[in-house]
C-alpha cells in the first residue's frame, strides 16, 4: 500500500525533463521519416560519436526508463516475453527488445495504444556501450540487431583491476572509437564531421559541468535536491546529451538549487535522515519512493547510479579532444574499478554527503550491479559505522518491487539510525 503523505519538494526544472525526452523521441521519428539515419544505442554516452556523424540517436535506457516511470513499459515487456525472453532477463534489455519487435512489426501493437509512443523508427545501426563490465549488452545488442537486420557495433570499456590498467584501457578505448567512426562513415556514406562533434562537445561540457556543480551543491544540509531529482536529470546527460537546450535546462536547475541553499530549504521538508541509494532506480516506482521517503523525513541524497556513471568526469571533458574525453569518462570512473577501490570511493562519497544510512536497492534483473551489493554494504557500512538495509526492486519491472517490504525495511533502517544517534 502506498504511503499517502506530503511529498518532497521536487525542482520545477526537473519536471520539464520528461516533456523534453518525449519531444526528443517524437523529433527522432519525424526526422527519420525524412530519411535521416537512426542509431539505436544502449549503455554509456560514447554514442555521442553518432551525433558527430549527423545521425539521430535513440538511447534504449532513456526511452525505457521514461516509459517505466509513467507506467507505460508493459507492452514492450509483453512483446519480449512473446518472443521467448524470460522475466529474469535484464528488464532494460528485455523491454528494448520488445520495442525492437514492435518497431519491426514482428509483434503487433494493441490498437488502443498510442503508436507515437510505442513505435520507434527502425535503426540503421546498433551501438552497444556497456558500463562496468556489463556483458548483457553484448547479447542485447546482437538480439536487437538480428531482429532489425542491421549491423551492430560493440564498444568495450575494460575494467581496471589495478590503477596501472587505466592508461592502456584508455588507449585501447580510443582505438575502438576510431573503428566505430569508420563504421559510422560507412552507414552515413560521408566523411566523419569532426567539427560537428567538437560543437556537440561544447554543449556536453557545459551540461556535464553544470550537473556536477548541482551535485556538489547537494552536499548542503538540508539537501536542496534529492537523488530522485538527480536520477530524473540523467536524461539531459545521456539520451539528450549534446542536444541544444540541455545546458539551459541544467542552468535553470542549478539556479533553483542555489536559491534553495541560500534560503536553507531542503528537498525534504524537515529533513531528519540523509540516505545513500545503491542500485538502479526502480523507475516504475519513482514517484512512490520519493513520497515514501519524504513522508518519514528521509532524504535520499545521492547514489552511484545518479552521480558516478553518466559522464561523471567533467574535469576530463575537452571539446578539442572528444575521443579522450569519452575514454576518460568511461574507463576512469569509480564503477569501472575493482571492489576495494569502489568501497573506498563510496565511503568517501558517503562522508561528503553526510550520509546516515544506506538503502541497497536490489536491481533484481541486473547481475552487474547486483552481485557486489553485500560486499559494498559490508565494506562501506563497517568503515562508516552506518546501518544499511536491502530492499527489492528492479530498473523497469515492477513485479520485483513490494511496497510493504520497503515500508518495513525503511522503518527498520530509520530506527537503527535513531538508535545509533541516541547511543
Amino acid at each position: 500500500m502506498e504511503t499517502q503523505v506530503q511529498g518532497p519538494s521536487l525542482l520545477r526544472s526537473v519536471s520539464r525533463i520528461g516533456g523534453m525526452m518525449r519531444a526528443s523521441f517524437l523529433d527522432i521519428k519525424r526526422q527519420a521519416a525524412e530519411g535521416k539515419k537512426v542509431v539505436w544505442v544502449n549503455g554509456l554516452p560514447a554514442f555521442l560519436l553518432a551525433r558527430g556523424a549527423g545521425a539521430l540517436v535513440l538511447h534504449a535506457e532513456g526511452l525505457i526508463a521514461g516509459m517505466a516511470a509513467r507506467g507505460e513499459e508493459k507492452p514492450f515487456q509483453q512483446a519480449a516475453e512473446s518472443f521467448g525472453l524470460l522475466p529474469d532477463a535484464c528488464s532494460y534489455a528485455r523491454s528494448f527488445t520488445g520495442a525492437a519487435l514492435i518497431a519491426n512489426g514482428d509483434v503487433p501493437l494493441d490498437e488502443s495504444l498510442d503508436r507515437d509512443r510505442y513505435v520507434m523508427p527502425r535503426p540503421d545501426l546498433y551501438i552497444n556501450v556497456p558500463g562496468g563490465g556489463c556483458g548483457t549488452g553484448r547479447l542485447w545488442g546482437d538480439t536487437v540487431a538480428t531482429i532489425c537486420n542491421v549491423p551492430v557495433f560493440h564498444l568495450e570499456p575494460r575494467v581496471n583491476w589495478e590503477r596501472s590498467d587505466v592508461a592502456a584501457n584508455i588507449e585501447d578505448f580510443i582505438r575502438q572509437q576510431m573503428e566505430l567512426i569508420s563504421v559510422l562513415e560507412e552507414i552515413t556514406g560521408r566523411p566523419y564531421d569532426w567539427d560537428l562533434l567538437k560543437t556537440v562537445f561544447q554543449e556536453v561540457k557545459r551540461a556535464i559541468t553544470l550537473r556536477q556543480e548541482i551535485m556538489n551543491l547537494c552536499r548542503a544540509i538540508p539537501a536542496p535536491a534529492s537523488f530522485f531529482d538527480m536520477v530524473a536529470s540523467i536524461g539531459p546527460v545521456c539520451h539528450l546529451v549534446g542536444v541544444p537546450g540541455t545546458g539551459d535546462l541544467l542552468q535553470e536547475m542549478k539556479d533553483e538549487v542555489e536559491e534553495r541553499v541560500a534560503k536553507g530549504e531542503g528537498s525534504v521538508p524537515g529533513e531528519k535522515y540523509r540516505l545513500y541509494w545503491d542500485g538502479i532506480m526502480t523507475w516504475p516506482r519513482l514517484g512512490v519512493l520519493a513520497r515514501k521517503f519524504a513522508a518519514l523525513g528521509a532524504c535520499v541524497v545521492a547514489g552511484p547510479y545518479s552521480h558516478m556513471i553518466f559522464l561523471p568526469r567533467a574535469d576530463k571533458i575537452d571539446p578539442e579532444r572528444p575521443l579522450e574525453s569519452i575514454a576518460y569518462n568511461l574507463c576512469d570512473t569509480t564503477l569501472n574499478y575493482d571492489y576495494r577501490y569502489r568501497v573506498e570511493a563510496i565511503t568517501r562519497f558517503c562522508r561528503e554527503y553526510a550520509i546516515d544510512g544506506m538503502v541497497m536497492s536490489e536491481t533484481q534483473t541486473c547481475r552487474g550491479i547486483n552481485s557486489h551489493t553485500f560486499a559494498i554494504m559490508e565494506g562501506v557500512g563497517k568503515a562508516l559505522q552506518i546501518p544499511a538495509v536491502m530492499i527489492g526492486g528492479d530498473s523497469c519491472d515492477p513485479r520485483f518491487y513490494s511496497d510493504a517490504q520497503v515500508d518495513t525495511r525503511l522503518q527498520a533502517l530509520l530506527e537503527a539510525i535513531e538508535a545509533k544517534r541516541s547511543n
Binding site: 524470460l86 532477463a89 556483458g135 546482437d142 576495494r340 552487474g368 552481485s371 557486489h372 551489493t373 553485500f374
Partner: protein
Amino acid sequence: MNSHPKRGERLIIGCFPLYPPVELIHSLGMTPVVMWGLDSASAPTKESDQHLQAFTCSIARRLTEFVLSEEGRVLDGLVSYNACDTLRNLPEILQAGLRQRGRELSWAHFHVPMAPRGQTDSSEYLRNEIHSLIGALEQQAGRSFSADSFRESVELHRRARSLARILEAPLADGRVSFAHWAAALQRTHSLPVEEQILELEGLVQRTASTGGDSLRRNTTARIVVTGIEPPAPELSALIDQAGLAVVGNDMASMARTYGYMPADSSDPGDYYVDFYANHKACTTLLHTADRRIEAVVDLVKERGADGLILFGTKYCEYEYFEFPLLEDRLRDEGVAALALDFAVGSVQNQAAFQTRIEAFAEMLGNQSHNG
C-alpha cells in the same frame, strides 16, 4: 566435485569460468581444477548465501559455496577471466568472503575481449593480458615459465581432448546411454590431466566394444543437448528413460571444452589468442556470440537430430538471450526445441522435468511417425 588431495608439492589452482589456460598453469608445476558443474546439486549453500542473492545462478552459488567452505581449503590459489556479469564480480566477492573467514588465496586474472573478431582485432590486447598472467602465475608457482614445459603441457592436454573427442563417436551413433556417458566423462573433469588421460583411454577401450543395439531399437527420437552446465545424472537418466537418443552434445563442459586446440604452441601469447579466437562458440565466451547460433544449428543438422534440449541454468541471462533466436532458427530447419532451466535444488523437483521431457519425446515420436 571430488576434491582430490594435494599431490606432493603441486599447488592446486581453482579456475573459472570454463576455459582457463590450464596448459599454462600446468606447465608451471601447478594443478588446475576447473570449478564448474560442481556436483553438490542439492546440497545447502549456506556459506554462499551470506554473499550472493538467492536469484544468482547455481553455478556462482555452488562455486562460492565450495571455495568458502572447508572443502575449499584444498585450493592454493584462484585463476579467473571474465564471462558474465556475475562471474566478473565473483573473484572479489570470494576474496572478501575468504578474508572474513581469516583465509586468503592468491588470485591471478586476465580479460578476454568481448567484441567479435569480425569487428575488431583485440589480439594484441589479449597477448599482453596473457603475458601479464604469466608473471602472476610465476609468483603463485614460485618458479619461472619454461617454453619446453609449456609445450609438454599442451601435448598432454591435446591428448586428453582428442580422447574425449573419440568418445563422441559412440554417442553420435546412439551406441551408449547419455546418462552413463555424461557421468563417465564428468568424473574425469576434476582430475589432473595425467590421470584424465588414463581414465579416458580406459573409457575409449570400453566403449569401442559397446554394441548398443537395444538402445538403438528403443529410441523414439534423436536429440542434441546443450547448456552451460551439465545436467545432474538423475536428469540425464530421464532422457534415456523417455527413449531419446542423445546423438550430439553441445554442453559447455563437454564438447565445447575439448572441441578445439591450436596447433602452434611455441608462444603462449599466440597460443591463447588462437585458442580463444577459434574456440567452439560458447555462451560464456562473448566474443563468439555472433557465430554461436549457427554452430548449434550445424551440429543439429550434421547429426540428423529431430530435436534439441537446453539444460538451461536459471538466471543465466546469456542463455535467456540465446534461446529465442536459436529456437527460431531451429524451427526454420523443422527441428523442435525444449528449454528446461535449473536452479540450486531443482533436481529435487524431478517429476516436473520428467513430465516435460516425456511430453517432448512423445511429440518428437509423433512427428517422426507422421513424417
